[in-house]
């Protein structure tokens, strides 16, 4: 029998007042696999990942992590499970160096002192394991880094904590060609390390380059799940823009 998916959502829904943001969505990510989450603006991508992160819990549905049923009430519980989210605005402090940023809020201590040497070693180790190769020194302030390097730091920060599921929100949105390539390689490296990866992107080219599977959302519903190798961009675009909806928006399910 196949191992259960790392994360599995069954029939989750979320409502904000009169707005039904998610309706009966099933979603699964396996360890060692990159799952892309695609959909137009307002399709419910952000609501879905915020629900996984515990920023606001789902109204209905079940969440399974490692085959165990869990309820994630707040971000701290998500972190405890090993779920890390890299947001679009990377949340790095420009005046601090790479090491300080990667360990921010979870510094390694030696008594009352910061254990700089240990943190520096761990940072170098993590960055090396992800083949982040363009960084000259982990002691440069983050402000001095390019967009791709900053994205790499933010991702490496998520990996540092033995996380098992990394969710990336539009990681390539503001990047040039070469930097996008680096970040996509990094995403593949994460999966190769055995982590589950969810990547949200509007750029189907990127999605086809790095994802194993694609989940298309439309108007808060899951339209279809694709296996990247067995589909093409046209099919996915069609699903995003005109996919068949199971539930009529605005109506109670019958």
């Amino acid at each position: 029998m196949e191992a259960p998916p790392l994360l599995e959502l069954k029939g989750v829904s979320k409502r904000f007042g009169a707005v039904q943001a998610l309706t009966q969505v099933d979603f699964a990510v396996r360890a060692g696999e990159v799952m892309a989450l695609v959909g137009d603006n307002g399709a419910g991508k952000s609501t879905l990942i915020k629900g996984i992160a515990g920023i606001y819990p789902f109204d209905e549905g079940e969440t399974f992590f490692d085959g165990q049923r869990v309820t994630i009430h707040n971000p701290r519980e998500a972190t405890a499970l090993g779920i890390e989210i890299v947001y679009q605005d990377l949340a790095l402090a420009d005046n601090l160096d790479v090491v300080a940023n990667m360990f921010l809020g979870r510094e390694t201590m030696q008594g009352i002192q910061l254990d700089e040497a240990r943190m520096e070693l761990a940072a170098i180790e993590t960055l090396t394991s992800l083949s982040v190769s363009t960084l000259r020194s982990v002691r440069t302030p983050v402000a001095g880094l390019s967009g791709g390097q900053r994205q790499a730091i933010a991702i490496a920060k998520a990996v540092l904590w033995n996380s098992r599921l990394v969710i990336l929100d539009e990681p390539t949105a503001a990047l040039g060609v070469a930097q996008t390539r680096q970040v996509l390689n990094l995403v593949r490296n994460l999966a190769a390390k055995g982590l589950g990866v969810v990547i949200i992107s509007h750029n189907l080219h990127d999605v086809f380059e790095c994802a194993d599977r694609i989940t298309a959302l439309r108007l808060g519903q899951k339209v279809r799940e694709f296996i990247t190798k067995e589909t093409n961009q046209q099919e996915v675009v069609h699903a995003i823009t005109a996919g068949a909806l199971q539930y009529v928006p605005g109506m109670k399910e019958s």
């Binding site: 402090a93 420009d94 005046n95 979870r106 910061l114």
Partner: protein
């Protein structure tokens, strides 16, 4: 930006950085940073040297042992208050109440010693410091709980604590400090051997920690500062520290309050650089949202900083009261506030938050004391002293702003 996108050199650039850094490479990196605008204490040191040369050329007694002792006395109160201001500035906030909070501390410590209270100094001084801490807690609470601008809350504090001093002392009055160690704190000098021993111990301890750190970093295969640089830094420190003490020992000796400033400098520097709290202060000042998402209790850090700032103002206030052996209705008034905030800024702590160092309080206070003192030497009117201090302040802010901009351009800020 593009310059930093180093080519995909060799297998991994980070591994290269783990090799021992050569002296040449270290100096090159340093010069690069300076050119990019990360000036550190460079401008203020140049300023201090320039001011010293200017006044010394006008009056040979300016750098006499006697006057150097005076300078240390004059800068100490300002430096102690400015230490707290540095922390507040690191957050990107301001505290306008520090001068009158220092006044409140001085007045409370004095009044409680006099009839009808007649308390001992070892009670009144801690009570005064607790009062300062309480004021900081109150202001910090208002700022963090109601999300009020620190500018407004501490401006209100400036008014209110000024009022409290007037009520406590009585308008126009002056109250003498009864004979006690409190009255003498600012008038005690370390005996020559003790003063010398004090700095020697500090320099040796500094050298020891530097070498221990070097060893441990090398042992772990991390990039370490070249030993030559450490040697040069220690040599400069020895010459400066021992030199100053030998000079002041020809006069009255090292003032106790000078030693207090140095010890506080070391403790606070350790806090900013080596502790979690210090790291969080920089993080909140650099990117509040990032700090929040990293799980840092941002509002608590801010509260603690305002508490620390008022507490340091209280310490400075005790010293300032002791220097005059009395407190007046104008305690904490005059240009004290301006001097304390200017000291932090002139010393190189950015008004924009996230960048700065504790030592800037000492260097800035020294420069301000040097100008103030030099003006007296040249028998210039006080008006000129204000104008010149104002010009120095503007220069410092221009340097800060320019270095910030050029650091942004070269991607360092």
């Amino acid at each position: 930006m593009t310059t930093n996108e180093a080519p995909l050199q060799s297998e991994n650039a980070l591994l290269e950085s783990r090799e021992q850094q050569t002296l040449g490479a270290y100096i090159q990196t340093y010069l690069q940073r300076v050119r990019a605008g990360a000036l550190g204490p460079l401008p203020i040191i140049i300023g201090i040297v320039a001011v010293a040369i200017f006044f010394q050329s006008r009056n040979a007694a300016y750098l006499s042992p006697n006057n150097i002792v005076n300078l240390i006395m004059q800068m100490s109160g300002i430096a102690l208050i400015a230490f707290g201001v540095v922390f507040v500035l690191l957050l990107g906030e301001i505290d306008l109440s520090v001068a009158y909070v220092s006044g409140v501390a001085g007045v409370i410590a004095t009044i409680l010693m006099r009839p009808p209270h007649n308390l001992e100094w070892y009670l009144t001084v801690p009570i005064a410091l607790l009062a300062a801490l309480g004021i900081g807690t109150l202001q910090g609470f208002l700022i963090t709980t109601f999300q009020l601008p620190s500018f407004i809350v501490t401006l209100a504090g400036l008014l209110a604590w000024n009022g409290a001093i007037l009520l406590l002392v009585g308008a126009g009055g002056t109250v003498g400090i009864p004979a006690s160690p409190f009255r003498e704190i600012a008038n005690v000098y370390l005996p020559p051997e003790l003063g010398l021993g004090f700095v020697v111990v500090l320099v040796v301890a500094y050298a020891a920690t530097q070498f221990i750190q070097l060893q441990s970093r090398r042992a772990q295969g991390l990039n370490a500062k070249p030993i030559t640089i450490i040697g040069i830094q220690i040599a400069i420190l020895v010459v400066l520290a021992v030199g100053v003490v030998l000079i002041v020992n020809q006069d009255r000796g090292l003032p106790l309050i000078g030693a207090i400033v140095i010890v506080t400098l070391i403790v606070l520097t350790f806090i900013t650089r080596n502790t979690r709290f210090g790291r969080y202060v920089f993080a909140v000042g650099g990117n509040k949202e990032a700090a929040r998402r990293a799980g840092i209790r941002v509002e608590r850090v801010r509260l603690y900083v305002f508490m620390l700032c008022s507490f340091m103002a209280g310490v400075g206030g005790i010293i300032l009261a002791s220097r005059l052996k009395s407190v007046s209705a104008n305690q904490g008034g005059g240009q004290l506030l301006l001097n304390c905030i200017s000291a932090a800024v002139i010393g190189g702590t950015s008004l924009f938050g996230g960048r700065g160092a504790v030592y800037s309080a000492v260097l800035g206070a020294l420069l301000i004391a040097m100008v103030e003192n030099g003006m007296v030497f040249l028998r210039l009117e006080t008006g000129w002293q204000f104008i010149i201090t104002g010009i120095v302040l503007v220069l410092a802010v221009i340097v800060d702003s320019l270095s910030q901009r050029s650091q942004k351009r070269s991607g360092l800020a």
